[in-house]
């Protein structure tokens, strides 16, 4: 438990990706089976308990110490698990210090009452606050130490010096505590079989194109172009009677989208964009959000928000692994495959013919009416390239549309988190709106907390402190008058109608692109500018 606790502790305070990789890799190398496997399962989100509720933990600690002293402690620390882990009175020798596998095994089959008793006994036995903290994180679900499942897998791959894609392809055939995986990575046994049907295949990713450099080196004849659709990247697999839908990181979301999997009649694996498509027309991203992050769906939701895949690649065609074929050949197979499904739930992402890069630039700047209006930009894919896992440089590029820009006025600022907890770093900004009497006021249109440098953050933080009107807990309202205030040039990727926002619009991915110290707030944009944009996007 101690090594695992130390790992969580360090991960949660480390921001460097490389340092995190080193920590996880070293932990996995130095920790014996099966502890390391359970740790890996916890880190990759494969294991999650909600064995006990916060109220139970609170009650347990108050049975051991004065409630007032605990209340002050909790108040000071601010986090229940952390406060409890620190104040928990040690009862050394009461029990043997549990190791990680003992905890996992002890909780797997336990009833709630049994789990509570065991957790109390473990807390009594663990000598370090850090270990008690790790235990509480583990048993209350969700480690949240700033490590993505993908990064954890990268560390595992580093351990055995194998490409992470190879591991990802294997991943769904493996079960914690992964003893077969570690045996293979350490050269003690054969590679575990990945031949489980409808497994996830690691996806091929695109580099962002550098307009100034790349186009001069690339021949337009070598590349296919298609729209970059504004949904989420998915992989749909049908093999050996098993159907699965995965996100691009390999999370299984089959249960959320049975409608799509039902439409996948033929055996094969499709790479494509998950969208809500209503009457042949792509719906705004907000519609797709209604379908995501749900454990189950009902017929009503599926009817109201019909999901579909806009397919752009084929990785497996019946018995054939097509990934080593060039795009030209894969595309032919894909077109035939999609046609055979004959379902509105699976359609084809059309290729955009072009002669020169200038043609393509014009297309990107002025997308034709219809779905391309809300595409995120264009994708370029080499005709002769195989489907390669990861993000190889050269075969695939994304060429994003220029962001939309608006000049908005800072209205509220909120304290940030973590490193930024001493700064006002989250900004709500607004544009001008005119009422029936011709009176102008600001209406909030969005919130952004990045896009500025550390130095600019210091300057904005000072502006907020010097121009505070009122405080509401961690939020301050800031002077925002026609001749006094701060204007941000805000960049965003899209706009949608929203009933949750007073202004009636919501921005996608807003960030601060420039700070307009020079601009009087009175000259910032009006709501009409955003409404025109909205009409333009909807009127496609």
């Amino acid at each position: 438990m101690r090594a695992f606790a130390e790992l969580l502790d360090r991960l949660s305070l480390t921001s460097s990706r490389n340092a995190k990789l080193t920590m996880v890799r070293d932990y996995l190398r130095d920790t014996p089976d099966p502890d390391r496997g359970w740790a890996l399962a916890a880190l990759t989100g494969e294991l999650s308990f909600d064995a006990v509720k916060p109220a139970f933990i609170r009650k347990a600690v108050e049975a051991r110490m004065d409630a007032q002293l605990f209340a002050w402690s909790y108040d000071y620390v601010g986090d229940l698990a952390e406060a409890v882990s620190l104040v928990w009175p040690a009862r050394l020798g009461a029990n043997r210090e549990p190791d990680l596998s003992e905890v996992i095994e002890g909780l797997k089959s336990a009833t709630r009452a049994e789990a509570q008793g065991r957790i109390e006994a473990w807390l009594d036995a663990l000598p370090q606050a850090r270990e008690r903290w790790a235990l509480l994180k583990l048993v209350t679900g969700g480690l949240r130490v700033g490590l993505s499942a993908r990064l954890a897998k990268q560390a595992v791959a580093d351990l055995g010096d194998v490409p992470v894609a190879e591991l990802e392809e294997l991943w769904h055939a493996l079960r914690p505590p992964y003893e077969d995986l570690f045996a293979w990575l350490e050269g003690r046994s054969e590679k575990p079989s990945s031949e489980n049907p409808a497994r996830f295949r690691p996806v091929m990713l695109a580099q962002a194109i550098d307009e100034a450099v790349d186009f001069a080196k690339l021949d337009p004849a070598d590349y296919a172009a298609e729209w970059k659709w504004d949904g989420i990247r998915v992989q749909a697999a049908h093999e050996g009677g098993v159907r699965r839908l995965y996100t691009r990181t390999g999370d299984d979301i089959s249960r959320t989208f049975p409608d799509i999997l039902d439409a996948l009649d033929d055996q094969g694996v499709i790479d494509g964009e998950l969208l809500v498509i209503r009457d042949g027309k792509v719906a705004p991203f907000a519609d797709l959000q209604q379908r995501l992050n749900r454990k189950t769906v009902d017929a009503k939701l599926m009817a109201a928000h019909p999901a579909a895949i806009r397919a752009y690649d084929l990785l497996q065609d019946g018995p054939d692994d097509t990934r080593s074929l060039p795009l030209t050949a894969r595309r032919k197979r894909l077109e035939a495959f999609v046609a055979r499904q004959a379902s509105p739930r699976i359609d084809l992402s059309p290729m955009q013919p072009f002669e020169t890069w200038a043609d393509l630039a014009a297309l990107r700047a002025n997308p034709p009416a219809g779905d391309p209006q809300i595409a995120e930009g264009l994708m370029l894919k080499r005709w002769d390239a195989a489907y390669l896992a990861g993000r190889p440089k050269g075969p695939w590029f994304k060429w994003k549309r220029d962001p939309f820009l608006v000049d908005a006025v800072l209205m509220y600022a909120q304290r940030g988190h973590g490193k930024r907890s001493s700064y006002y770093s989250d900004y709500t900004f607004g544009v001008w709106i005119q009422d029936a009497m011709g009176q102008r006021s600001l209406t909030p249109v969005g919130k952004a907390y990045f896009g500025f440098t550390d130095e600019e953050l210091l300057q904005i933080d000072k502006f907020v402190r010097d121009n505070t009107l009122e405080r509401f807990g961690p939020v301050r309202s800031v002077r925002a008058e026609p001749h006094h205030g701060l204007v941000f040039e805000v960049a965003f990727e899209g706009l949608q109608r929203s009933t949750r926002h007073k202004s009636g619009v919501a921005m996608r991915f807003p960030r601060i692109s420039r700070i307009r110290w020079d601009k009087p707030p009175g000259e910032a944009d009006e709501i009409e500018a955003l409404e025109r944009l909205l009409v333009q996007m909807e009127g496609r």
């Binding site: 949660s12 305070l13 460097s16 002293l69 605990f70 402690s73 000071y76 370090q128 606050a129 907890s421």
Partner: protein, 336 residues
């Protein structure tokens, strides 16, 4: 019947002894001061006369120059000095080099002013000596049950593990310039780290002073002389304020470590951008504070500064009358 407040009472300048006419750790210049230890918030310049241990006088001399007081009197540990009818004895407090508790006796009444103290072993100063007393006047910097410092050896082991894990990076350990820095260096030596430890310029004079008092710090070098690459795998000790300063840019991808009792609280570490919090403190933690009060079982507990309400409540629950003096002017040091 003499009451404790006839012997010692809080005043704006600090704790005042009327029958002996002196202050203990006054925060403003006074005629006669007894100084428990050399940290700046307890030992200020400008008093007319100062009674302190020889080590503390030496530290004040180093920090403020020879004219920090008009007259100074050295009270060695255990030696009793009389002020009017009041006997003052300085007894080890285990906080930093030269740190002392002030034991004040008058007409059969014994009051002990702990100053800042800790109970665990410190290779740079003698251990706290419990003195039975009628009134114990305790600090409470870490007077909340959340503060429970782990073994310092374990914390040093975590630092050394990180150094081994990231040999291409340097490790900057933020440590209070007086006491903490030298203790960290000593603990590293005890753990077998015999390489050169690089130190920030602000530590050099105090390091030299510790060496003069017989604390062997091993090979040290200014953190300015080497090339950037030479700092790979190195440990650098610096005052906490230097860590976020441009000063630290000379080191290769430094891992920010910080040795302080406050590092027990994750939000504190995060707020300061500390990647490797080392919970090493020169103050008593909650367990040490309560164990000390239990051991002494004083007739009354007074609390000078820190999180006094929690310690006072705990004492009351143990049937020990407790009183918070709420003295101002003492920082949550280690914070700096």
């Amino acid at each position: 019947m003499i009451r404790p407040q006839d012997l010692l009472c809080p005043k704006p300048e600090g704790l005042y002894c009327a029958p002996g006419d002196f202050y203990i750790d006054p925060t403003r210049p006074v005629d006669r001061a007894v100084i428990t230890h050399g940290h700046a918030d307890h030992a200020r310049a400008g008093h007319y006369s100062v009674l302190a241990t020889p080590q503390t006088l030496d530290i004040m001399n180093e920090r403020y120059g020879v004219d920090f007081a008009h007259t100074r009197e050295a009270g060695a540990y255990g030696q009793t000095v009389t002020r009017n009818e009041v006997e003052v004895t300085l007894v080890p407090a285990g906080h930093v080099l030269g740190s002392a508790q002030a034991v004040v006796r008058w007409k059969g009444l014994t009051m002990v002013v702990s100053g800042d103290y800790k109970r665990r072993r410190d290779p740079t100063c003698p251990a706290f000596e419990p003195v039975p007393c009628d009134v114990f006047i305790s600090e409470a910097t870490f007077g909340l049950p959340v503060f429970r410092h782990p073994h310092d050896g374990d914390e040093i082991a975590r630092l050394l593990k990180s150094v081994a894990q990231f040999p291409e990076r340097s490790h900057i350990v933020g440590a209070y310039a007086l006491g903490k820095a030298q203790r960290i260096i000593r603990l590293l030596r005890e753990a077998g780290w015999d390489k050169t430890i690089y130190v920030h310029g602000a530590l050099e004079r105090l390091n030299a002073l510790y060496e003069r008092h017989g604390i062997d710090l091993g090979p040290l070098a200014p953190a300015t002389t080497a090339k950037k690459a030479d700092f790979a795998g190195a440990i650098i000790v610096a005052p906490p304020s230097a860590m976020q300063d441009r000063w630290s840019r000379r080191f290769p991808e430094p891992v920010a470590a910080f040795a302080s009792g406050w590092m027990q609280i994750r939000a504190r570490a995060r707020q300061k951008g500390v990647e490797l919090p080392l919970v090493i403190s020169d103050h008593a933690d909650w367990d040490e504070l309560t164990a000390t009060v239990e051991e002494l079982r004083p007739g009354e507990l007074w609390i000078t500064h820190g999180r006094e309400e929690a310690l006072a409540r705990w004492a009351t629950l143990q049937d020990i009358p407790a009183r918070a003096l709420a003295l101002v002017g003492y920082e949550d040091d280690e914070e700096s």
